[in-house]
């Protein structure tokens, strides 16, 4: 059983047995997240994994931390309640491309705008996994799905561009099969005070094997910078590496354009956080005695 005493170990972070398909990238994300918690020695007792619904949404069940597997698309408001009520907790949000960008789009807008402190992980398999193969906002144009057997008609939403466009203070992209890059990305995300938007390319061998070609790495380009995430040359030997300063928003947009082939830290900028602003306002308010609550209504 967990205690607040370090060290945190991988074994201790195991909860229920995962039940994803063989070869599913969600396993790699799960293990990566556990590794990261061990590496940073993050106390599971003060950690909450929050999720919506989807294959991705199952993650909290498999992490021996606190967790809420909430409703479809709405993990962000639930996490915000924890951020306001229990600001000392570490919050990780797991969301799918459908969960985050289809039904949950509005909460993502406002989570990003409120910039409250959490690590938001978008499991992007470019498909609805749990409900078995329907088009998601990130599905590539032309892909045949159960809801669009003639092929998805629209160009996909690029999640990185999306987050940048909404003014996110932290936007990174990684892939679950690039182990070190994934860990390094989580690490900078975790350190960023505010809403850290982490896009993760995730394999879904069951329904969308063509989404990400993890066997090749020529299509990948790493964005690298001292303040960013190092390229993962081991995981992606044939990738190109591009220097990119994560404080440069305009360049970030350029890199984000079109399909998601760039990985690394796109943008990072500290900005006021709704959680701390709100808590500070209450903190600073001139306090009154509850015993005098009704005095001003006396007649």
């Amino acid at each position: 059983m967990s205690t607040t005493t370090n060290p945190v170990t991988l074994k201790e972070l195991k909860a229920a047995d995962p039940r994803w398909c063989t070869g599913c990238g969600d396993y790699t994300i799960l293990v990566g997240l556990r590794r990261f918690m061990v590496q940073r020695q993050i106390d599971p007792v003060n950690t909450v994994n929050v999720s919506g619904i989807g294959c991705s949404g199952r993650l909290p069940h498999y992490m021996n931390t606190y967790g809420i597997h909430s409703v479809h698309g709405r993990a962000i408001p639930v996490a915000l309640g924890l951020a306001l009520g229990r600001p000392e907790l570490k919050l990780f949000i797991s969301s799918g491309d459908g969960d985050a960008l289809s039904i949950g789009g509005n909460h993502l807008i406002h989570g990003i705008h409120k910039n409250f402190n959490c690590v938001f992980v978008l499991f992007d398999n470019q498909i609805y996994g749990l409900t078995k193969n329907q088009t998601s906002p990130t599905t590539k144009k032309g892909l045949v799905t159960m809801t669009q057997p003639q092929g998805s008609p629209l160009s996909p939403i690029n999640p990185v561009q999306f987050a940048l466009g909404l003014g996110a203070t932290f936007v990174a992209s990684t892939a679950e099969w690039m182990g070190q890059h994934f860990l390094d990305t989580l690490d900078v995300a975790y350190q960023h005070p505010g809403f850290s938007f982490v896009h993760v390319a995730q394999r879904c061998p069951k329904f969308n094997p063509s989404a990400w070609n993890h066997e090749d790495s020529r299509w990948i380009s790493f964005l690298e910078h001292d303040n960013g995430v190092p390229a993962d040359r081991k995981a992606a030997p044939d990738a190109t590496v591009v220097a990119h300063d994560p404080s440069d928003m305009a360049k970030a947009f350029e890199h984000a354009n079109g399909l998601t082939t760039s990985f690394g830290l796109f943008y990072c900028q500290e900005r006021p956080r709704y959680d701390t602003l709100t808590l500070d306002a209450t903190e600073k308010a001139v306090k009154k005695d509850k015993g005098s609550l009704l005095d001003s209504f006396a007649i």
Partner: protein, 604 residues
Amino acid sequence: MMTRDQFRFDLIMDAGNGAQKAGDILIKGFANQGLYVYIEPMIPAEISPPKRTKYSMSGVTIRVATGELTNIGSLSELMLVEQEILLDRRLDDEEYEPGGTVILDMGDQKRSPATYDQAMARARAAGLKVLPLSIPDEAQQTIRELNGNGKNMVYLGVFTAIFNITLTDMNAFVSQVFKKLPADKLAKNLTLVQSGYDLAQADFSELFLSIPANPDDREKILMDGNTALAMGIVDSGIKLYSGYPITPASSIMHTLAKSFPAYGGIVHQAEDEIAAIGTAIGSYFGGVPAITATSGPGLSLKQEFIGLAMVSEIPCIVIDVQRGGPSTGLPTRTEQSDLFAAAFGTHGDATKVVLSVSSVEDCFYAPHIARYLTEKLRVPVLILSDYLTSVSYKVFEKLNLNVMENISDILPEILERFYIEALPESIEMVKTNQSIPGEVGRLRRVTGLNTDIEGTVAYTSQTNQRAHQVRNEKLHHVRRALKTPEFFGPSEGDLLVVAWGSSRGVLKEAIDTCHREGVSVSGMHLKMVYPLPLMLKELFSRFKRVVTIETVYGDSLKHTPFSTLLRSETLLDVKAVLSNATGRPLKPSQVVNTIKELSHVHNN
């Protein structure tokens, strides 16, 4: 000078001209004399509707009495109206006492003599006496100097005279309310009050009235239902209010936004109603009591999350200030029509407790009892208030504070107020582990999926059936703890009239009137509307006939939601005899008449 133990009157002006401000000051005068007051504002449906149209009717109905008041009463005996279009509009509502008086400001008569004649003729035809009022020239001049403002002060002066309040007292109240005004402007306002006072002395002395007071030393407060809910939230130890604006719930949030931080609380404006409840649930999972409030359309949106709170056993409190419905409906009218949506609106067998408030005082204590129930049971608790309760304000004895930290602190009188005993010490949960983040060695995950007793996702027949049974048993605990609801009159007889929520005051007054007039009838009022107490069948069987009165639609082929529940529970032919959804509250006189008709039928 007439002496009366209660009196109801209207002040009606174009929106934006300060009728409500004048009303607020006037009731300070009443309260200061030791009188009780109940006020219902008339709020136009538009933000600032064009003046001199029927849409711009704004004002207050005030009822003042020697003893405590539970409702606004039936009809007004006096109306002071700024111009003829508003008089015409107000006559539509048929809330005047035939034989009563209209004081009509003739200031606009020159603009439209014909409509003035028409409105006055209509009022007279309705049996009202019409007294013209003309603001004297000097006062007119002062009003011009105040950029057209100040008519309300003249009217305030008129009422000051009619109700026998001293000008010195009234000046003090006006000065207090306008304390931020520059001295010269204040002085001008006081002149206007004086001018109204003089005018009434000259023209309206026939209307002068004395309402004897029973002054006592008990501290009194003046408050509306939504403010009471806000203050109750603070006193109940809730720490987070998470909401999205919607009429008529918004003012709970407005009040808290101003005052909550001083008591360490947080107000969060979410992007929508769904997010609002999600954030409240997140907070409560973290062990920090939270609440959300909304009105009809918002309730519809929250249904999915209410179900999540229920299955994952996270405490959850939702206030629904019911408005005229369905759909966008009538945002500034009253109705009691969300009972079923509150009790049954979530898909699946989603167990919830629904309690209703009958008064401003109940509003103050509703958050306490809701918190008690939701933390004991880990079942969502819905508080049903309504437009009527939310905006009506009244003078009442200052309430005892609870200053609740934990639910074990709850004052016994709060349980009593809601007619419920304390729940059993320990109540079985679907999941035994109910730890909160930070607790060592008790890590857990919650989910909307079905789980076994360990909290692990499980799809077997046994676990599913058990989870349902445990959740329903929680409600059965409530049923068993519910005591005999409030009774007015004998506990057996020919006729029992049942009401819930905001209809209590009207019911009580109607029963009292009937008793005074020798009509034999009893009343019963329920605050807890779902689940119902266990002894209703037995209680009802002591009467030959049981009926309900509600502000919701019903007819001979459609039982109201409340009567549907009562019928199913008691298998007695309980019917709603007053079930109008006009947007207006029931009137005691309506109820009295209905009772008399029913008694008549019975006695024949």
